[in-house]
């Protein structure tokens, strides 16, 4: 079927202040094609379905194997990674839009730096003394490693934040990804030295109490992080911390 095609519609916006418009494309189908390869095809031949010349699409991407977290966007209404969105599994015309909860840069590119700021605010690191040779690390049993490893698989794609009804300017909610990292570092034999700081950082406005348990996060996560479990565990720890802080006066 040489003439089989793919129909794809992309929401374009030239700059943060410009109006948005939908553009339709009809591209030659190839086996194994994903949404990224469709956009690569458009870059090499930037012409809309009705034959009008346009510009290549601006979008974030890097690894194209769902590990760098760059290419999150809304595809047929669902927040997901464009690289692992295979054309053959999608209803056509495929409708592609930018994530809606983050400041738009251009076309499908948005600014997700808020996640990295949140990770800084909760001290998502292990405070090592230095990089010189201090011998081996703490002993970790395989059971602990198996519990922590899934949390460490978060690719910072922000899909969980995009689909969270509570993640908005009004609440200032940090979102599930950051909470999962708090659990990861609080579990670490050395990382837990900042446990109280992290819990306090999640105690105020925009903290963990904003979660409405809609559970959208865990459903959308491309890496299947146990997000709701992390949220309940950290909620409990935050409450305990609050009580302790209250009693200490």
């Amino acid at each position: 079927m040489a003439d089989r095609t793919v129909k794809i519609e992309i929401k374009r916006q030239a700059s943060p202040d410009a109006p948005s418009v939908w553009e339709s494309f009809e591209l030659p189908w190839r086996p194994g094609m994903n949404v990224i390869s469709a956009m690569m095809e458009i870059a090499a031949n930037p012409v809309t379905a009705d034959g009008r010349a346009t510009t290549p699409i601006t979008y974030d991407s890097n690894c194209l194997e769902e590990i760098c977290g760059s290419c999150a966007m809304r595809i047929n209404g669902k927040a997901r990674m464009a690289c692992s969105s295979l054309v053959d599994n999608l209803e056509q015309p495929i409708r592609v839009e930018p994530l809606s909860k983050f400041p738009l840069v251009r076309d499908l590119q948005v600014d997700r730096s808020v996640l990295f700021e949140n990770l800084m605010a909760v001290k998502a690191w292990v405070p090592v003394d230095g990089t010189y040779d201090l011998g081996s690390g703490p002993r970790v049993f395989p059971q602990q490693q198996e519990a922590n490893y899934p949390l460490s698989n978060c690719i910072s794609c922000t899909c969980c934040m995009e689909v969270c009804p509570q993640f908005n300017e009004e609440t200032g909610f940090v979102g599930a990804a950051t909470i999962a990292q708090v659990k990861l570092f609080n579990n670490h034999p050395t990382g837990k030295v900042f446990k109280e700081d992290r819990l306090r950082a999640l105690a105020g406005d925009g903290g963990i109490q904003e979660c409405g348990f809609a559970q959208n996060c865990v459903e959308v996560c491309p890496k299947q992080l146990p997000l709701t479990e992390a949220i309940s565990d950290i909620s409990r720890d935050v409450l305990v911390q609050k009580a302790k802080d209250f009693l200490r006066g």
Partner: protein
């Protein structure tokens, strides 16, 4: 005197390792990266990181690791830095462990190790099959900590364009482009470290990430930095062919017992699971009984090529062979290889627990790169390089799981050395060349934006990738290499007529890509001409017309320098440091 200011370009493992060392020693760092550093290509590394910790009672030593690395690299690596890397590796693993990398564990709670290609020891520490991701995150977290303390300033979303070099030939900073506002700016520094990764994009489709264009390496090459043994690129034996890229299927699949085979009969019609063992050809195990499926990558890649193209035994006549894990139990596979099996299933739609994977070799890594001395400094004072973008640790072929250790080690060496250099640096005359470099870059930018022509940069890139993959990967002939160079010259000429379909000054990706493309074209000539002149076979560089290694003539590092002349870069040769291990024939059909 104020604390030295160092610029690090690139936020993968090498760049972040350098940043941490500098911040720890009290220096200030400006860190430039095209993507948020947590999304750098190091994240893609899968299988593990090598260090001779000898935790399996096998008597492994750093001397063995050193010997395996030199032998695996067919003796082309300078031995002094490789020896230092292998000796430092165990402490690097300990450090990463202390930083919280969730390495797989033994029942007793110690680090677990797996086997990898080119060695007979369990030497590879791993975190599932997403080791690069876990290592990158650990260093990213440490850098974030230094950032919180004000020692590091990140410029994410900025692309390096060039070094600023003063009238005495000393580096004084960089120019960079803000990929959002398209602002061009120069940044002063007392030393700069390039940690800009690989150049897979030159081959069109590869296992590399989108940002791995080699553009930064090429930019400084065109400013006078030597580019060393560019002709050595690694084609990874096991990749998943795709429309947009070749996805890596980690060597750890074979490290955990994966077997490579094809049906013995070209016209095999039975479903794969019904083909009995007697009708399967495990050609690696037959040809290399000692190492089996764990021969080094260049050897495995050539074997697969041979089976497909000479024996005509590719699956269904396609260039593909089986990589089979189905004999291993599901729980073990999930614990040790979960991440990569998930990738295969997601992108191919077949569950590799149940059915053998179909794989084929693909461009993966460059052993060649920016020439540096043992302190990681280039021939331009003040420009350092670390990680895949430089040339020094892997000789003519890299062993699996040595890249992560070489990135971190190179970063750890370059950071303190850059700081030491910067402390001894004399003040610059005038503006150190900043105004002149900004003017030069601004001229290139405005010319490109206004250019009237008919050539689409993305199409030119496809043509470059096709010609490079055809002539300059697994098997090389001088005739084909000459053809490839002719094609690159043609593309450079057509590049003059490049027409951007987007001329806007806001997040213009075609503009940024067109600039990278020019640099890719210039750098690709060092690969092709380096290969053309090297009339021997060594490691990953294989010429059927010159099937043997020729130590007398070519136990040498090629160093390309940019001339700007139509005949392309000039290549000279430098002696290799072989003071510790005497070169001997490299063979994997028997124990070495």
């Amino acid at each position: 005197m104020a604390a030295p200011r160092i610029i690090v370009v690139g936020g993968g493992l090498a760049g972040l390792a350098a940043v941490i060392k500098i911040a720890e020693a009290g220096g200030n760092v400006d860190l430039f990266s095209i993507v948020p550093v947590k999304r750098s290509h190091s994240v893609c590394a899968q299988g593990g990181i090598n260090a001779a910790k000898n935790l399996k009672g096998e008597g492994d030593t750093t001397a063995q690791h050193f010997d395996d690395t030199i032998y695996g690299g067919d003796f082309l690596a300078n031995q002094t830095p490789v020896k230092a890397m292998c000796e430092a590796a165990p402490a690097i693993i300990d450090l990463l462990d202390r930083m919280g990398v969730p390495f797989n564990r033994t029942p007793e709670g110690l680090l677990d190790f797996r086997r990898f290609g080119g060695t007979l020891y369990h030497r590879t520490a791993f975190a599932g099959a997403t080791t690069g991701q876990q290592l990158l995150y650990a260093l990213d977290e440490q850098v974030r900590r230094h950032e919180a303390e004000g020692k590091v300033k990140k410029y994410e979303g900025w692309e390096f364009l060039s070094a600023v070099i003063d009238s005495k030939g000393v580096a004084r900073g960089i120019t960079a482009l803000d990929l959002r506002t398209m602002e061009l700016r120069s940044f002063p520094a007392d030393a700069i470290i390039l940690a800009t990764g690989g150049n897979g994009a030159i081959f069109g489709k590869s296992t590399n990430s989108v940002v791995c264009t080699g553009s930064a390496q090429s930019a400084v090459f065109q400013q006078g930095v030597y580019y060393a043994k560019g002709e050595f690129i690694q084609v990874h034996p096991t990749c998943i062919p795709g429309e947009d890229k070749l996805r890596l299927m980690s060597e750890s699949a074979r490290g955990e017992g994966g077997r490579v085979w094809v049906p013995r009969n070209a016209g095999e019609k039975r479903p794969v699971k019904q083909i009995p063992d007697s009708d399967r050809w495990y050609f690696l195990e037959e040809w290399y009984p000692k190492y089996g499926n764990l021969v080094p990558r260049d050897v495995a890649t050539r074997a697969i090529h041979k089976v497909v193209y000479e024996h005509g035994l590719g699956l269904d006549g396609q260039p593909m062979v089986y990589l089979d894990l189905t004999h291993i139990d599901r729980a073990t596979l999930d614990r040790k290889l979960g991440g990569i099996l998930e990738i295969y299933e997601k992108f191919v739609g077949v569950d590799p627990h149940d059915e053998p994977m179909k794989i084929f070799p693909g461009m993966h890594y460059t052993m060649g790169g920016i020439w540096v001395d043992f302190n990681q400094m280039t021939n331009i004072p003040g420009i350092f390089a670390a990680g895949e973008c430089e040339y020094q640790y892997h000789g003519a072929n890299r062993l699996g799981a040595n890249s992560l250790v070489s990135c971190i080690f190179g970063g750890f060496v370059s950071g303190p050395n850059a700081l030491r250099y910067a402390k001894g640096l004399e003040g610059q005359e005038g503006d150190g060349g900043h105004a002149a470099e900004i003017a030069r870059q601004s001229e290139i930018n405005s010319k490109l934006l206004k250019n009237e022509g008919t050539e689409n940069p993305f199409k030119l890139w496809r043509e470059l990738g096709q010609t490079m993959t055809e002539h300059a990967t697994v098997i090389r002939y001088n005739k084909g290499l000459k053809q490839a160079d002719g094609k690159i010259v043609e593309l450079l000429d057509r590049y003059k007529k490049v027409n951007l379909s987007d001329r806007s000054q806001w997040a213009n990706t075609s503009f940024a890509f067109a600039r990278q493309l020019k640099n890719m074209l210039e750098l690709s000539r060092t690969i092709v001409l380096g290969a053309l002149q090297r009339d021997e076979s060594r490691g990953a560089h294989y010429k059927p017309d010159f099937p043997d290694r020729n130590d007398e003539k070519f136990l040498k590092t090629s160093k390309a320098s940019f001339t700007g002349a139509p005949e392309g870069p000039r290549i000279e040769y430098e002696e290799v440091d072989t003071q510790f291990i005497k070169p001997r024939p490299r063979r994997y059909d028997a124990a070495k």
